[in-house]
């Protein structure tokens, strides 16, 4: 059942992106072009989405578990750190260059032609590069931790 709801959520999300105009990169770039002829439509997309989502998140707080699942996975407060800022700025540059962010790019895939396909392939490659870098970093850290743990008891 949770697969049906996940599919419906994706369908609804994609429909929202198409209806709002956000599946068209030119419209997103027109929003980001504040110094040119500016199209403020994206603000209205965010307004509608945030208002409804805020009600849902508030309601979710009163629930112990979701309808079809054991746990509500909501991220904790988390730290404000350098990766957050650097990652967001990096994303913003790519977004500003092409006009696609992940949702609209995936939604436009079936109808967006080769340009969209190339963008999505590069986006997934970028995510894979991050994944590999993370694994190498985690491996290095585990190694360092491992030597420390090994050195610890023998030093005492």
């Amino acid at each position: 059942m949770n697969l049906v709801t996940a599919f419906l959520a994706g369908l609804l999300f994609g429909g929202g992106l198409i209806l709002s105009g956000m599946s068209n990169p030119a419209k997103v770039l027109a929003f980001l072009d504040v110094a040119g002829t500016w199209d403020p439509s994206l603000l209205f997309v965010m307004l509608g989405a945030i208002l409804v989502a805020a009600v849902a998140f508030r309601f979710a707080r009163t629930r112990v578990r979701p309808l079809f699942g054991s746990q509500i996975h909501v991220p904790g407060a988390g730290r404000i750190d350098t990766p957050l800022v650097l990652g967001s700025v990096t994303f913003g540059i790519g977004w500003g260059l092409v006009g696609y962010c992940p949702g609209p790019a995936l939604t436009a895939l079936a109808v967006g032609g080769r340009s969209t396909l190339l963008f999505v392939a590069a986006m997934v490659a970028g995510m894979a590069i991050f994944e590999v870098a993370e694994r190498i970093r985690a491996g290095n850290e585990a190694n360092r931790g491992g030597t420390r743990a090994a050195a610890g008891p023998s030093g005492e």
Partner: protein, 144 residues
């Protein structure tokens, strides 16, 4: 600043935003998951048992959305005339950046702000600012 009244679509965009909000609400209350697209897609590259199928079906829903749309009305145009090199660079930056910063327009911009998460507010300010500056440089400094 000049408003582009010709292409400005406040009502359709507001309605589309409400649909996105409803999709977020459905995924949260039915599946207990946050609708951050980069996180849902990126999670497939770090597969763990029992955590794959819902991601795949959600993304399948995104794929199918325009096909369902087409049975009712014409698709709005997707104007995209960038060079392959620019599409590749943009895609790589979006892929790396959204994973490194732990979210994109949906995860931080919609879900995070809806929860008033300070992390997400800052992330959204950062990617919006970077987007504004990038488009300014491309269009008004380089004149493309």
């Amino acid at each position: 600043m000049t408003i582009d009244w010709l292409h400005f679509t406040p009502w359709a965009s507001l309605a589309g935003g409400i649909l996105i909000g409803l999709a977020t609400a459905l995924l949260l209350l039915a599946n207990g998951r946050v609708a951050g697209i980069s996180g849902i897609l990126g999670g497939l590259l770090r597969p763990s048992r029992g955590d794959i199928a819902w991601r795949v079906t959600f993304i399948l829903g995104l794929f199918v959305a325009p096909l369902v749309w087409l049975t009712m009305r014409a698709m709005p145009p997707a104007q995209i005339d960038h060079s392959p090199a620019l599409l590749t660079i943009g895609g790589l930056l979006v892929g790396i950046g959204t994973r490194f910063g732990n979210g994109c327009t949906s995860g931080h911009g919609v879900c995070g702000i809806a929860r008033l998460s300070p992390r997400s507010l800052l992330a959204t300010a950062c990617f919006l600012a970077a987007g504004f500056v990038t488009v300014f440089i491309v269009r008004h400094v380089l004149g493309r």
